[in-house]
């Protein structure tokens, strides 16, 4: 343990170790550096972790935000896609993974390069009108989705044999306590741990015994069907996967994590990994229901709960349990992420102090918005026979209107050299970003047009 080289004026570290009790842990090796011509071992340097740890420490806002997208509504959409069309829609997810990763990465980059959340930038660059529009839609849409997450918590817990009147209040209280009293780092760690529940879906997929050849065909050979159910599910998948709150949360939490433009890089990997992981989980849901419900002809899936219940007679109670565990974890995660994204958005828009790291006294408005959404979401979810399905359709329309606008804002901001400096978008990124915008816009027009025509009893595509 003796330090070989000493520097004038420094203590020989062995003179210190001589005093220590025998049980003292081994000192870290540190790093030997040459400063002013003298070689010295510095044990206090924070050395970069290596191997697996290095990768795990990179994960953060990207994985949390994208995983929150696999919430109750997402599970319903992906399960329905598998139940109705087997593996035919998996190719959409493959293409969407690239778009999703590009959009999420741009948000992370905006956060790191500017230190500002999305609504900060929208307010400063596009003015109060657009800001109020975005904030208004975000509050209504996120409020509605938060309610659906608590309905999801209740449904999942009842599948697992626990009454919703117990699970929903407990779930709400735990999420509230975690965010109000926890630091950002602690909250992020717990959110990351919660993403483990998503492994329930690949397991359920394997249990379904899919024909992997058919799965591969579904993933890489695009199938287009001109019937309304197929088109609307395709559009639904686009809207469920890329959702405004995921982008808002990604950017704001990247800022709160303390990312900086000088060594932007880990955030990019986190966004990529999160998007790929999240979409792999979504694909697992399609495979799980495609291999089972589609084969037996049980195709009427409207909610995640329907999917879980329908699996029991086909695969067994364990598959239902897995889906229920996945739904519970996903709903809990999104039940916290959605109110947080809303709090970030409102605070940024109006210049209110924001952040999980604040205490309640300093972040009153931020935490009040969060608390109100949790209380309202959990409270309404306990009201019997809440018409959640029509509510979700309405929210889908709102998010559908907002998404192309948000994408345009992201693309304009990320191309602003004054804001981004060297982190400005590359040509490839612009190509992929604008391509995503066109794809999403067409999907939204189809969705909105279809719903409008439906009101007049006109079917856009053959049934």
């Amino acid at each position: 343990m003796k330090d070989e080289t000493n520097v004038e004026g420094l203590e020989d570290i062995s003179s210190v170790t001589a005093q220590l009790p025998a049980s003292q842990r081994r000192l870290p090796i540190g790093l030997r550096v040459n400063i002013r011509g003298r070689s010295i071992r510095l044990r206090g340097l924070k050395r970069q972790p290596k191997g697996m740890w290095r990768w795990l420490l990179i994960l953060g806002p990207g994985l949390v935000a994208t995983s929150a997208g696999n919430d109750a509504g997402g599970i319903a959409t992906y399960s329905s896609a598998g139940a109705q069309f087997g593996y035919d829609l998996i190719w959409v997810m493959v293409i969407l993974t690239i778009s999703f990763a590009v959009v999420q990465e741009m948000c992370a980059r905006l956060g790191a390069a500017t230190g500002r959340g999305m609504l900060d930038l929208i307010r400063e660059r596009f003015g109060i009108g657009w800001t109020l529009f975005v904030v208004g839609v975000v509050i209504v849409a996120n409020g509605g989705v938060t309610l659906s997450e608590f309905v999801g918590i209740g449904a999942a817990s009842e599948l697992l044999g626990v009454s919703r009147y117990i699970s929903v209040p407990i779930g709400a209280a735990v999420l509230w306590y975690l965010v109000i009293y926890g630091s950002y780092a602690k909250v992020e760690k717990i959110f990351l741990l919660m993403t483990f529940v998503f492994f329930a879906y690949p397991i359920a997929a394997f249990m379904g015994g899919p024909d992997w050849g058919e799965v591969a065909k579904g993933a890489f050979v695009p199938t287009i069907r001109m019937d309304s159910a197929y088109i609307f599910l395709l559009v639904g998948i686009l809207g469920t996967t890329i959702t405004p709150y995921i982008q808002i949360f990604q950017q704001s939490s990247t800022v709160e994590r303390g990312a900086a433009r000088r060594h932007y890089g880990p955030e990019r990997l986190d966004a990529y990994f999160g998007s790929i992981f999240s979409n792999l989980m979504s694909i697992s849901m399609i495979i799980a229901t495609g291999a089972t419900l589609y084969v037996v002809g049980n195709r009427n899936i409207e909610t995640a709960e329907d999917a879980a219940r329908a699996l029991e007679p086909v695969v067994g109670a364990s598959a239902t349990m897995l889906f229920a565990i996945g739904l519970l974890g996903a709903s809990l995660l999104a039940g916290a992420v959605l109110p947080l994204a809303t709090s970030y958005a409102v605070s940024e828009a109006f210049g209110i102090p924001k952040g999980v790291n604040l205490d309640f006294r300093r972040g009153k408005a931020f935490f009040t918005i969060f608390t109100a959404l949790i209380v309202l979401g959990a409270g309404i979810a306990l009201v019997p026979n809440v018409p959640i399905f029509p509510l979700l359709v309405g929210i889908q329309v709102l998010n559908g209107v907002l998404l192309p606008i948000i994408l345009v804002f992201i693309l304009l901001l990320v191309n602003d050299r004054n804001l981004m400096g060297d982190l400005k978008n590359s040509r490839l990124y612009n190509f992929l970003g604008w391509g995503t915008f066109i794809m999403i816009t067409v999907a939204v027009i189809v969705m909105l047009g279809g719903q409008l025509l439906e009101l007049f009893g006109i079917e856009l595509f053959g049934g």
């Binding site: 420094l10 570290i13 210190v16 001589a18 003292q24 842990r25 510095l42 924070k46 230190g115 602690k186």
Partner: protein, 414 residues
């Protein structure tokens, strides 16, 4: 009193009857209470033109018109930030401002202007909901409440660009009069680029004190945005323990570069601290402490400390050593002891020889608890032969045992 939200709907007319749309106003932000508008921008046929404010003949609120001399005298420009003035609509409106009276950040929902002797002054920022209503109601809602107005005298506008300070941008600089703790707290409410700009505005000594209170991550974000010359200056003034924490996070080459550029004495102290592993007492101690030989008389000690205290981090206790070379710890005196004692007494006579010490490689949590429980401002750290290595101050100890939720550093005794 005029609000920018009202003025931006005014028509610009010249004496020949030509008409244009309002675009913006510019004012230099100097060390004055209320900036004076010096340029008017307006749009004609998709062109942005600029006229100096002297060309403005009148502001007619009845006709909702700004009358100017002649559009022909206007210069075509692009509406972009400039170093010698700030654009009120393009740059300040909707931006984050620092409200120095209430020590917080606010968003500029509107700006209040006032005509005085033919000049137009920027008088206040309006952060109220009413200001938003005025802007979105197309002129139907005009009420201006006093509650949301923030006197410009106590407002600081930051551009979010640390380089703006060096490029000659103007600032109020009132913020430089605030205590470091309050500036650090304000920095928590603004993006890191704004915080770096703010630090660049401050005199070095205050910038260092402010940085020391921020979380290490925020310090790092800010340092990376500063120019190397400024970083070296700040590191040289920083307490060695804070500097060691910060440098320990940098990439090795960058750390070496800075350690070679800061004064050798400071560099040596920082290196000494960097040698102690993170989880040991050495990692949280400061080695910039005052110590004196035991045989010194009180009068001589006071004279010596006058010089030493100018650059010493921790000054509440003076540690007494056998001689300055070996630094074997014999006792300790407080400043009160030193000033209450008679001139001819030696330090040995007045010192407290019974003192608890820590070992530099002791587990950090155990050591920190000992300091906290001792209720002392600091506890000395010794090595072999009771050699004085440094001291753990109570604020450092509290930070070591406090939950990580704390968003700021505690810095009381150093």
């Amino acid at each position: 009193m005029l609000m920018l939200s009202e003025l931006e709907r005014f028509e610009i007319a010249d004496e020949n009857g030509a008409r244009a749309r309002f675009a913006d106003l510019a004012a230099p932000l100097l060390d004055t209470d209320y900036p004076i508008v010096n340029n008017l921008f307006f749009r004609v046929d998709k062109k942005t033109l600029r006229l100096p404010w002297e060309a403005v003949r009148a502001i007619d609120r009845e006709k909702r018109q700004i009358l100017v001399s002649n559009f022909d005298q206007a210069e075509e420009v692009s509406l972009e930030p400039q170093k010698d003035y700030v654009l009120l609509k393009y740059e300040i409106l909707d931006a984050l401002l620092l409200d120095l009276q209430n020590r917080r950040a606010i968003r500029a929902n509107d700006l209040q202007l006032e005509e005085e002797d033919g000049l137009l002054l920027l008088k206040a920022a309006d952060a109220s909901i009413e200001a938003i209503l005025r802007r979105i109601s197309f002129g139907f809602y005009r009420r201006v409440g006093e509650g949301g107005l923030f006197d410009w005298k106590y407002v600081e506008f930051l551009r979010g660009d640390p380089k703006a300070v060096h490029n000659g941008a103007g600032y109020h600089l009132r913020i430089t009069r605030m205590p470091p703790g309050e500036i650090a707290r304000l920095c928590n409410f603004i993006p890191y680029l704004h915080a770096a700009e703010l630090i660049t505005l401050l005199p070095d000594a205050k910038a260092v004190k402010t940085l020391e209170i921020m979380t290490i991550r925020r310090q790092l974000q800010i340092f990376e945005e500063l120019e190397e010359e400024q970083v070296v200056r700040l590191l040289a003034l920083m307490a060695p323990d804070t500097a060691a924490d910060l440098l320990g996070l940098l990439q090795t080459e960058m750390m070496k570069n800075y350690l070679e550029k800061i004064p050798q004495k400071k560099s040596r102290r920082i290196i000494e601290l960097l040698r102690y592993p993170e989880e040991t007492v050495g990692a949280i101690m400061t080695n910039d402490i005052a110590y004196l030989p035991a045989e010194l008389t009180v009068v001589k000690a006071r004279r010596q400390l006058r010089e030493r205290f100018q650059n010493t981090d921790f000054v509440y206790f003076i540690y007494i050593v056998d001689d300055e070379e070996n630094r074997s710890l014999s006792g300790m005196i407080s400043l009160r002891d030193l000033f209450a004692s008679r001139d001819e007494q030696t330090l040995e006579e007045i010192m407290d020889p019974y003192i608890s010490t820590l070992s530099a490689l002791e587990e950090v949590e155990k050591g920190a608890y000992r300091v906290v429980e001792s209720q002392l401002a600091a506890m000395p750290v010794t090595g072999k032969g009771k050699k004085l290595l440094g001291a753990v101050t109570i604020d450092a100890a509290i930070m070591a045992v406090a939950p990580e939720d704390k968003s700021e550093n505690l810095r009381i005794f150093s």
